[in-house]
């Protein structure tokens, strides 16, 4: 078990001192606490021995003093020991997120978001339960159990043995049923997810359902799952409804044994009525530690399993990093890009084949091609979202693997096909890559992508929240914000991956005009289906199934009469159709 816990050690040793203090508080709490029944015992005993009211007042005062002392240490114990577990959780969650930030896109396509989320929440909280309540309650049970039993033995060893007899059963019952409850609970949860999925599916497929008159069949099918969910819950309910009353019964039997055997001992004069009362109170004190014993073993088991799952995240090493970086070679970028015999495979499939292309700094290159021709993959290799073979891509004559990632990406403005915005204000989204940018620069960037007027019409202008918790932007608006975001970085290389597809032609025209001003002196790569975007590029490249099939200026490619020329013709018809009333 210690071996399985090893990854956690660095996180725990950090709080060594607090653990020591917390455990000390725990020991004091319990040692002070066990004297309470003793005081009660003495107080009861003097009732039969003609004691005085002063003595009673003394005992009452002593009780309160002891309880107060106990309370103070008990507070410290909980605050420290449970508090540490929240600190550990905080540290772990930070480290996990930091680690996730270093992992490349491929990791996120191979691991489902939902799985990662569940590790970051459920598993983490199981681990926390183990290092917090797990540790505290086991120590608690140990210290208190030993102290209490020792005192009970001191009073009456035989009675102790007798009345503790049923209690291990309680611990075992909690452990056993705890596991059963957990297992059944997982089943119930699984059925619940299925039920949710069934409802979701049925509602998402509502058109099919209605069109095929399947409403009643859907209701019946939902009903079956509803029923099996209820059935599965029932099994859980049986166990749960049984467990607590049964535990109460077990303890009651212990009390019964005290009543009988303890009573007999009093009659024989072996113990006093006060001791008899103290026994009853001790037993009351033991209830929770005994239950906790069974509970803690389950917490630890679950915590260990979760720890294993959690560590799969840490074990994934970033594949794209700075191990070959030589920062001294290239402090800043001009933006000349060269592809040398670039081949790129993904999951064993060759996506790009022997691409050779030289883009001098400051030039604009447009890339066209059918869906799946490899355009997006091609541009994603430049900022190293995916890694091309070493030496296949060079910027300013230096292999991009030798440029530190941060430097490389700082000089690239990338606008991807799917516009992704964060649930933040418009302003913060625009200055996402340039946090130091001022108000005026943000507005200027928004002007370039022709969205200023629309942003200003939003309820709070540039401070309007977008995304899930705010305003839902249209696809075109999102695209234009992402363009502003890229432009604001003042990049040496600007990459637009079909970034104007949801924008209407007039707006596109205006954005392109603005961009030409910006682009002067910068390298640009534009992917697009629209001739209007492409035609003014210095060079146009046509990709087909991962290879360059046409290359040249607009006029040259029109003259060639190939893919590009056909794209051009279609565009003309499209425009004509658009004009039809």
């Amino acid at each position: 078990m210690l071996k399985r816990l090893r990854p956690l050690f660095p996180y725990l040793t950090r709080y060594k001192k607090r653990y020591v203090v917390g455990l000390a508080a725990l020991v004091i709490t319990q040692l002070v606490g066990v004297t309470i029944p003793l005081i009660v015992k003495d107080a009861i005993d003097i009732l039969s021995e003609n004691g005085t009211r002063e003595r009673l007042l003394f005992y009452a005062g002593l009780l309160l003093a002891v309880a107060l002392t106990k309370g103070i240490f008990q507070y410290a114990m909980r605050w420290i020991l449970i508090g540490i577990s929240r600190d550990v959780e905080y540290d772990l969650r930070n480290d996990l997120v930091r680690h996730l930030m270093r992992l490349e896109p491929r990791y996120y396509t191979e691991n489902r978001t939902g799985d990662l989320m569940s590790k970051m929440t459920n598993d983490l909280s199981a681990v926390r339960n183990m290092v917090g309540p797990g540790i505290m309650y086991s120590a608690n049970t140990l210290v208190m159990g030993v102290a209490t039993v020792a005192l009970m033995v001191h009073i009456d060893p035989r009675l102790t043995l007798l009345c503790l007899l049923p209690l291990p059963i309680a611990s075992l019952a909690v452990k056993f049923f705890g596991q059963k409850i957990h297992a059944q609970f997982e089943k119930v949860q699984a059925l619940h997810s299925e039920l949710v999925e069934r409802a979701r599916e049925s509602l998402a497929g509502v058109r099919v359902v209605r069109a095929f008159c399947q409403e009643d069949a859907e209701i019946a099918s939902f009903d079956r799952m509803n029923q099996s969910y209820v059935d599965s819950n029932r099994q859980l309910i049986w166990i749960q409804s049984f467990l607590w009353p049964a535990l109460a019964l077990l303890f009651a039997i212990s009390f019964l044994l005290i009543m009988v055997a303890g009573g007999r001992d009093v009659l024989r004069g072996e113990i006093s009525v006060g001791s008899f009362t103290a026994f009853n109170i001790y037993l009351m004190y033991l209830i929770w530690p005994i239950i906790a014993l069974g509970w803690v073993t389950n917490i630890v088991q679950r915590g260990l399993a979760s720890l294993g799952r959690l560590w799969t995240i840490f074990r994934a090493e970033p594949q794209i990093d700075d191990h070959a970086a030589r920062p001294e070679i290239l402090p800043t970028l001009r933006g000349e890009i060269e592809f040398r015999h670039l081949n790129f495979s993904y999951n064993g499939k060759l996506i790009l084949k022997d691409i050779n292309l030289h883009i001098p700094a400051g030039r604009t290159v447009a890339i066209v091609g059918a869906t799946g021709s490899g355009k997006s993959t091609f541009v994603s290799l430049i900022p190293r979202l995916y890694d091309a073979p070493p030496g296949a891509i060079l910027i300013d004559g230096v292999s991009i693997r030798q440029i530190p990632l941060a430097t490389l990406r700082r000089h690239i403005g990338f606008v991807s096909q799917e516009p992704f915005l964060f649930s933040e204000t418009v302003k913060n989204n625009i200055r996402f890559g340039a946090p130091e940018a001022g108000e005026a620069e943000v507005v200027r960037a928004a002007e370039i992508s022709n969205i200023v007027a629309e942003i200003q019409s939003f309820p709070k202008g540039f401070d309007t929240m977008v995304g899930e918790r705010g305003l839902t932007l249209s696809g075109g608006q999102k695209q234009r914000v992402t363009i502003s975001r890229a432009v604001l970085r003042d990049p040496r290389i600007l990459i637009l991956d079909d970034a104007l597809s949801s924008v209407d032609t007039d707006t596109e025209e205006r954005i392109l005009n603005q961009l030409t001003g910006i682009l002067a002196g910068r390298t640009a790569i534009l992917i697009s289906h629209r001739i209007s975007t492409i035609r003014n590029a210095d060079e146009i490249v046509v990709l087909d199934q991962g290879t360059i099939v046409e290359q040249g200026s607009h006029e040259e490619l029109l003259a060639l009469g190939g893919y590009y020329a056909e794209l051009y013709n279609k565009q003309l018809i499209e425009e004509a159709l658009e004009k039809e009333a």
Binding site: R207, A246, F432
Partner: protein
């Protein structure tokens, strides 16, 4: 960050009579069980006061060497005067039955109410889900699926607490408290009143604790929601974070959220850390009061030692019911919020439903007529404007048009997913609004652009819930659309599992399954929304083959993207910006050099080349597409 982070986070008042009455009405079918549970919990509450009393008797009658006071009532006559025998009688004759009965009552009560809770949840889920199945399509346009799913599941789950551990348990706590107080008062009203002075303190401490904890739990919930939202968003947008060198900033942002989560929890630890010792202290305070005053009374002979000991035990039994009672406040509050949302959904009228006096459809022929139909999803923006056409039985009509021309809307109107604003839609001469929905829709089978598969098996996806379709018919439908070879190649054949909307199947296979589904339902009229997405050549030929099987001898309305479909259509309807602009055969429309001609250049012309190259081997066996092409 705004506080109302989640819509579901907003909690209102804890009690609303109107909602409560409506909620309680769901208990009506189970009123016997509820009644039984109430009785059980009543006796359970009374029994809670018994064990300390028995202890008192044991001490007073047999153990206390000084007093040995006589027992004033019936127990005195029942119990043996011999201590050893009397104690055994007390233990086994009274104590044991009491705890056994307590066990049985508690077990039975919990079980009964939890089961009732499950039944009510079941009923509610069923009712909500059934209602959703009847709501009109525009409701689905307005509401995201996730929200509707929450109503059926999460909101109902919240109510479980109310039924399972709220309604009845509240009486249990009440009875327990009451019977303990009553016994204490009857034993010694003076000492009882003195001991009761801790009660307001307990209530006070518990109340303050609840308030503090509720506040930090609210913060915790918000923090957790923010952590989840952050993770969800940043995992999805990780490449944007990396591309824009935003790792540090994003991490700082996360650290703040993570910290607020940790701090909120530390506040709750603080609350618990103070609460538990405070409660224990109050427990000891009660003991101290009893020892000082009770002991004093005992010394004067006005109180027995046994009573003092019993009081000590009683005073430790105050805490649970008082704490439980304050718990119920939260349960009520959440239940009110959830039930409000649920009832709002249940009160939404179904919109499109069967006419009061539906016209019968004796032997449907499948003649469809649109008469000057106009329609807007939302006034005044018309998406269909004055459209008229007819489809005679046996005809295949293709609808073509540019994106957003209103093609799919036509099929939705025909199935009466929406009601039109102007004009009439007739099926076999009857206005479709005069037909029972089921009678109308069962004449159609629809294949959507994006074939929707349910999780289940291939067979269940073809058959759906229509149990009258035999295995043989399922097989025959699969054969006709060229799917049989594929299905038979699967290890489980027709029983092969389909997972997560058919994730393991190719686009073409999914499309063919949807074809087979339509065919198995043997409709009078087939409605087909062809897939536009570019598919690879292999899929293209699969679908082409399947389509031929599907269209044989059938009336069909097809939103066509495939040249072969259009060319073999009896009639082509050209939609443009909501208007029907051209109608005729492929050749006629081409000759007009209008919109269709342009669309043809744009969308279909390429397919000529592609189809020749792709289906070249197949063409030799079957010359049909070639002969139809120009």
């Amino acid at each position: 960050m705004p506080d109302g982070f989640h819509e579901e986070e907003v909690l209102g008042k804890a009690y609303d009579g109107r909602l409560m009455r409506r909620l309680l009405s769901y208990l009506r079918p189970y009123r016997r069980t509820v009644f039984f549970a109430l009785i059980a919990i009543f006796f359970y509450g009374i029994l809670q006061a018994v064990p300390p009393y028995l202890l008192k008797i044991e001490v007073d009658r047999y153990l206390d060497p000084t007093h040995r006071s006589p027992i004033p009532h019936f127990l005195g006559r029942l119990l043996s005067p011999k201590p050893a025998v009397g104690i055994a009688e007390l233990a086994f004759g009274f104590f044991l039955p009491t705890v056994l009965l307590t066990f049985i009552l508690q077990f039975a009560q919990t079980l009964a109410m939890q089961m009732v809770g499950q039944r009510v949840m079941y009923d509610l889920r069923k009712q909500i889900f059934s209602h959703l199945q009847r709501l009109e399509m525009s409701y689905f346009d307005r509401n995201p699926v996730g929200r509707m799913v929450t109503r059926v599941t999460a909101d109902v789950d919240v109510l479980n607490d109310l039924f399972a551990s709220g309604v009845v348990a509240i009486f249990g706590d009440f009875f327990t408290l009451l019977s303990i107080l009553a016994v204490m008062l009857s034993l010694s009203w003076k000492l009882a009143l003195l001991t009761f002075t801790v009660l307001p303190l307990i209530a006070l401490v518990t109340g303050a604790f609840r308030k503090a904890v509720r506040e930090s739990y609210r913060r915790i919930r918000i923090a957790i929601a923010r952590i989840n939202a952050y993770l969800q968003e940043h995992i999805t947008g990780m490449s944007v974070v990396q591309l824009f060198n935003h790792e540090e900033k994003s991490f700082e942002e996360f650290e703040r959220i993570n910290r607020s989560h940790m701090e909120a929890f530390k506040d709750s630890i603080m609350a618990y850390g103070l609460f538990y010792p405070a409660v224990e202290f109050l427990g000891v305070l009660a003991i101290a009061i009893i020892i000082y005053y009770g002991g004093g009374m005992a010394m004067l002979g006005t109180l027995t030692v046994g009573t003092a000991i019993a009081f000590i035990q009683y005073s430790q039994r105050f805490f649970r019911p008082i704490q439980d009672l304050s718990d119920k406040y939260n349960i009520l509050q959440s239940a009110m919020a959830s039930s409000e949302r649920i009832f709002k959904l249940l009160d939404t009228p179904t919109g499109i439903h069967d006419p009061v006096q539906p016209r019968p459809l004796a032997s449907p022929q499948g003649r469809v007529e649109f008469r000057q139909v106009s329609f807007a999803y939302r006034d005044p923006h018309r998406v269909i404007e004055n459209v008229s056409f007819t489809i005679e039985p046996g005809e295949t009509v293709a609808v073509v048009g540019h994106t957003g021309a209103g093609k799919t809307t036509l099929t939705s109107l025909l199935l009466r997913f929406y009601d039109i604003q102007e004009g009439r839609i007739l099926f076999d001469g009857e206005d479709i609004s005069q037909l029972r929905l089921r009678d109308l829709r069962r004449n159609f089978a629809v294949v959507l652009q994006d074939p929707f598969l349910f999780s289940g098996t291939i067979a269940s996806n073809i058959r759906l819930g229509t149990e009258t379709i035999t295995d043989a018919q399922v097989g025959e439908a699969a054969r006709r659309v060229n799917l049989l070879d594929f299905i038979e190649s699967l290890p489980e054949g027709f029983e092969e599992r389909v997972r997560e909307r058919g994730a393991t199947l190719s686009v073409g296979q999914k499309q063919l399954i949807a074809f087979a589904r339509a065919l198995a339902h043997d409709p009078r009229v087939l409605i087909l929304d062809e897939a536009t997405s570019s598919v690879d050549s292999e899929t293209e030929s699969q679908i082409r083959e399947g389509l031929r099987g599907l269209l044989e001898n059938r009336t069909a309305l097809i939103i066509a993207h495939r040249l072969s479909t259009i060319q073999s259509a009896s009639k082509i309807i050209v939609m443009h910006k909501g208007h029907l602009r051209e109608m005729g055969t492929h050749q006629e429309l081409l000759a007009r050099r209008g919109i269709y001609y342009k669309l043809y250049q744009l969308q279909y012309k390429d397919q000529e080349r592609a189809s020749v190259s792709v289906v070249a081997p197949a063409l030799q066996a079957d010359p049909e597409p070639q002969s139809a092409s120009s």
